[in-house]
Amino acid sequence: MEKIRVLIAKVGLDGHDRGAKVLARFLRDAGFEVIYTGLHRTPQEVARAAVDEDVDVVGISILSGAHIPLVPRVIQYIREYGGNPDEILILVGGTIPHDDFPKLKEAGVDGIFIPGTPISEIIRFIKEELPKKRMGKSK
């Protein structure tokens, strides 16, 4: 039976992971298999984990303001390690200014969730958007 696998990642010098942990817990309760990376991961580490764990969704939590350099690098390394970022739903959560949304979307981010987003909204987004991503995926 197929299971939706999600990687919840903390990238860079940002020590706040309560949100990431709460989200991980809720996604588990929604029936997903959730892998949490722990704090202070580099973009390479997150990308390597995404490819080796063959996840369907990568959720990057960033509260440090460094999303513009870090997030595109995660996507770049996923490709470099042989993964296909077009088959993976890439989400970013955290303190992201609206002005940066277009840049992230252009880099390949599928969904951006700022503080205050209800978790049910994130779950709904994954369930609706993932099947579109999976089209053509040889699972």
Binding site: M1, K3, A24, D29, G31, E33, D52, D54, S138, K139
Partner: protein, 330 residues
């Protein structure tokens, strides 16, 4: 990716293909059986090491430190870490990977080309591992990983499923997890080839060590006594093995005792190989896994073919008799 590409990719150690093949096996995708069939002749080269113990004793930390140690010795390492799936939602929080050492650029296990880590949900199977853990180990084996560490779900007194996959079983304990009676109830203690008392700097470590050594000495006596009476295969096997189960102390987060643990793991493997027990154990495992696969298919077939019969109101015993009689006829 088709079967051809997957097999080719696994055998040439391409991570992306290995990762996808593992997913197919976990999902019991129809193609996965063909992949496993094709790679099977290339398996059997890895040393499979089970790491088990109560929740919180430090299994994941020991896995990380052991990986580091085996890498120092020039071995490639595959890791399968199992965590429990929720019986209600099927979801799982897979939290073993985060203990993997990554901070130091010179020994970053996350990026080491010769380390492959995979998290698994138990997906409804009790016993400490997932139904497909054994097959995932085979994929890593075929991909050429030399040491394969299998970390079980935090296990208690009856999670002995690791025996189905591991050549060497390491049982981790820590101080203050119960008295000598708990130790003598056996459970997972019975399945260990090597015992580790982790967090050995905590008070009470000596007590655990004393009780454990006492229990193991009783085991040896029991084997001697029973061997006079019974011809149980297990007893014969244990005698033939002549392996005195070591008890080690570690403080894993500081790396203390890890080298000694790796030495004992290696030594156990050598003894298994020398006495021919390794082949015997592996034949037994192949037999069991064939039996399990066959039973699974028969079960599915019965559920399909006798659906109507099962819906009828009849006592389960009569129903079972009728099904068995009919199935055995054909």
């Amino acid at each position: 990716m088709n079967v051809e590409e997957l097999v080719e990719g696994i055998l040439s150690k391409k991570r992306r293909f290995l990762a996808r093949a593992i997913t197919l096996v976990e999902n019991e995708h129809p193609e996965s059986k063909e992949v496993l069939r094709r790679i099977y002749p290339r398996t059997g080269n890895a040393h499979v090491i089970g790491i088990t113990g109560f929740p919180g004793v430090g299994k994941s930390t020991i896995v990380s430190k052991l990986t580091e140690e085996f890498r120092k010795r020039g071995k490639s390492v595959g890791i399968v870490a199992v965590d429990p799936s929720s019986p209600f939602t099927g979801g799982a929080l897979l939290g073993d990977r985060l203990r993997l050492e990554g901070a130091d650029v010179n020994k970053n296990l996350w990026l080491d080309e010769n380390v492959f880590f995979r998290s698994m949900g138990s997906r409804g199977r009790l016993g400490g591992i997932a139904k497909k853990t054994g097959d995932v180990v085979k994929l890593l084996d075929a991909a050429g990983y030399e040491k394969i560490l299998v970390e079980t779900v935090g296990a208690g007194q009856s999670e002995v499923g690791i025996l189905e996959v591991a050549d060497t079983v390491v049982v981790i304990l820590m101080p203050e997890t119960g008295d000598d009676i708990q130790v003598n109830k056996a459970g997972i203690l019975e399945i260990g080839d090597i015992f580790v008392i982790n967090k050995a700097d905590l008070e009470g470590a000596e007590n655990v060590e004393r009780w454990l050594k006492y229990m193991l000495s009783l085991d040896e006596e029991t084997v001697m006594e029973l061997s006079k009476l019974s011809h149980a295969d297990e007893v014969k096997l244990m005698q033939k093995l002549k392996w005195k189960k070591p008890v080690l102390k570690t403080i894993a987060d500081r790396g203390i005792g890890i080298k000694e643990l790796a030495n004992e793991i290696e030594r156990h493997y050598e003894v298994l190989k020398k006495n021919g027990i390794l082949q015997e154990k592996r034949r037994e495992k192949a037999k069991l896994s064939a039996l399990e696969l066959a039973i699974e298919e028969i079960r599915a077939e019965i559920a399909k073919r006798y659906k109507d019969l099962l819906d009828r109101e009849m006592d389960p015993y009569t129903l079972a008799d009728r099904i068995v009689k009919e199935v055995l006829k054909c």
